[in-house]
Symmetry: C2
Subunit: 236 residues, 2 copies
């Protein structure tokens, strides 16, 4: 059996591999009918399957066995970030956050955003390959771009934080976040959120936080926030 | 005064900007004689300077004021990593580690290393621009490539760890590392260290560690290890 993990989002209703996965399976790995493969739906399941119709565009598979995987986290982590100008920096944050473990990612557009739109499909593709590469059956939810003002109105069952660089009062994330809590963290663009946006977020229930001493790039701050939550949860 | 931070490693003995910095200063920012600029030597000092000879190849500066910056960390962090095949992944680890804060980085070559040499100068360049971008006066030490066997024999005043993916006994870094301790962490290549290398490191005083549940890429593992040490040190 190939140790490649394949992705088929709707395997139960449609036991096929999407085109990109079929191509990799048949053209790159040269798998043939009867070969065994492991597939995930990105929703917490692994499926041991047999390739029954090796087709470079839409291979058909047959499920032999389904394995339910328990979500390793007992907290929900949602990071909303203002995409950076350089697209590859957004992609690497999505890749790293998926590897480390995250539930939901939302690109937000704020006053000083240098990038007002984002190639949504590329972020999904990046998350899928990171999930496969790290051999997990959990694909984070990636949202379409939302405006800052609409986003802060959305409900969230947990603690909400906004990271900013102003001198106004804020608490380090490592001090304010407690193990096991659900967390929603807002990370601003290169030029930071506007003071008015920070104010508005605070009025919507977000606590202002800092992420340490050094001035971090947007994508570094996003990853630092993501991993800080993991470290605090893994402490005994 | 431009908010760009310039780098001049030997400013006291040679008050000039290196060629790349001179070019940025004179050609990109179009600074002129008499302009004020902030320079760091990467050794914990900021210098407020005046540009006295604006030259695109070797600008001369005059120091007005020297500011000593206290190292924000009370621990030493040294990460030795097996460089990944894709050079950009090594560069981003160096960039992110420099932003977050690290004292020393050593590329090591081990049995299963896919990359046996590394463009040393590119790593230095990456670290310098990350230091400048994050407005700090501390440039991490970046070593030339060392073989795994030579590296594990080097002395280190602190705790030594080796991260690996084998099922043999190991402790999560978040459990074994204690606030304030100096840490040297070994991160293996895509194919992991060989079991024999892990054995040899353990015999040289390295403790085997894990970095969490998910399977991480080499550069992600390196960054996760780096940031875990920071988070533990920032907890009260």
């Amino acid at each position: 059996m190939s140790d490649t993990l394949f992705y088929s989002p709707d395997i139960i209703n449609n036991p096929q591999l999407p085109e990109i996965e079929s191509h990799h399976c048949v053209k790159v790995l040269r798998m043939r009918n009867g070969d065994l493969l492991t597939v995930t739906d990105g929703k917490g399941h692994f499926y041991q399957c047999t390739l029954i119709d090796a087709n470079p565009k839409h291979s058909t598979i047959s499920i032999i066995n389904k394995i339910d995987v328990k979500q390793p986290r007992n907290f929900i982590l949602h990071v909303a970030f203002a995409p950076t100008k350089q697209m590859d920096r957004n992609e690497w944050f999505v890749e790293k956050a998926t590897e480390i473990g995250i539930d939901r990612l939302t690109p937000i557009i704020s006053n000083y955003s240098e990038r007002k739109e984002i190639k949504f499909e590329r972020l999904i593709k990046t998350a899928i390959s990171a999930m496969k590469q790290s051999q997990q059956p959990f694909l984070p939810q990636i949202d379409e771009t939302v405006s800052f003002n609409d986003f802060i109105k959305l409900p969230f069952k947990g603690n909400k934080y906004i990271a900013h660089c102003y001198e106004t009062p804020k608490t380090p994330l490592t001090q304010i976040y407690k193990k096991g809590e659900n967390a929603l963290i807002l990370i601003g663009p290169e030029g930071d959120f506007s003071e008015e946006e920070v104010e508005r977020a605070i009025n919507s229930g977000f606590s202002p936080i800092s992420l340490g001493e050094s001035r971090l790039r947007t994508e570094t701050a996003s990853l630092v926030a993501t991993h800080t939550i993991h470290v605090i949860n893994s402490l005994s």
